[in-house]
Symmetry: C2
Subunit: 200 residues, 2 copies
């Protein structure tokens, strides 16, 4: 990181927090600068406009990984034990979702859903669809290797992911009431229930 980027990153971090709490329109450059400890005008030394800050937040956090980065070797080697695989993955995913920056970003996406930024529409849907695609792949693989029973990988993916998103909304949305423990517990219950439906 360049030396001069320190303040810029501080502005980005504070912006993410404030935007996620009060929305883009609900946050003034004044709010923002005072939370960083600068004057308003100093902000414009790092960003050309308020909207440019939002754009850069989405550049930084916006490339949804849909949990793809969680698929390390340890997990891949578990593909032949689907229940263990799903349980391990869920827990990793929820821990990632429980991270304060992830929570802020998710809240921001919910608040700014539909807003256009640099010609790209902010969309909750894209988050859901990305996750779905990954799991269609995984269940296709599992079906091909006969680790699970025959069936539509699309339906399997929906049925597996939907409750995880539900859990995220219930336990990992309000930063003052993060309940990772309950989230993981409920995810385990889900995986167990789901496994009964897809085991051979």
């Amino acid at each position: 990181m360049k030396k001069g980027e320190k303040t810029k990153n501080l502005i980005l971090a504070q912006s993410l927090q404030l935007f996620s709490k009060n929305g883009f329109s609900g946050t003034s450059v004044r709010d923002l600068s005072s939370s960083v400890g600068l004057r308003e005008s100093a902000i414009y030394n790092h960003f050309s406009s308020k909207k440019a800050i939002l754009a850069e937040i989405f550049e930084k956090f916006g490339q949804s990984t849909a949990g793809l980065n969680l698929l390390d070797d340890e997990l891949i080697n578990m593909l032949n034990k689907p229940q263990k695989f799903m349980q391990t993955f869920s827990e990793k995913l929820l821990r990632k979702w429980g991270d304060i920056e992830e929570i802020h970003f998710f809240n921001l996406v919910l608040k700014e859903n539909g807003t256009e930024i640099n010609g790209i529409k902010i969309s909750v849907n894209s988050l859901l669809e990305d996750a779905q695609k990954v799991w269609v792949m995984i269940f296709t693989e599992m079906t091909n290797h006969k680790f699970i029973k025959k069936g539509s990988p699309e339906i399997f993916a929906n049925e597996f992911i939907a409750p995880l998103f539900f859990i995220r909304m219930k336990f990992l949305l309000d930063e003052d009431n993060i309940d990772l423990k309950s989230a993981i517990k409920q995810a385990n219950e889900h995986t167990e229930f789901f496994w009964e439906s897809i085991k051979r």
Copy 2:
């Protein structure tokens, strides 16, 4: 409805639409009045403040029914046919969710999640929890009457509702891309899949 309430209701309707699209902070009284066809000051003849409009929107739409009002006699008499019951209910629920005012209100709740209004916190969670409670009751009933297999009604409720919310987010969130047909199709697939897990 009183005679003088006509304009007031028009203001409420337009506000719901604009707030849901641009957020509360992103909508000015000016935007609002011009969309109604009045001057700003005329708004204050019906509401004491901009915030009072938001409050009244939540009074009008806010009492989540969680689908309770969908439980008519026709449905209640189907309790002994759980699959048919769930399928009929889902379709009714999705049709309700596909209503343009419901979509606007849901988007508003997502945008203003966490905002306090008259001391009450706007919360997506309360929507989820309300729905969950209703279905815990239903599955308890079904279990007691041995229409479905033994199991935790709470888990059954989560597993049944979560995919419906997922479907709502996917097909009934963006008012310019409402896809009720796909929503109902996917809900039927879900019900069928879920039924296999809970039938005796």
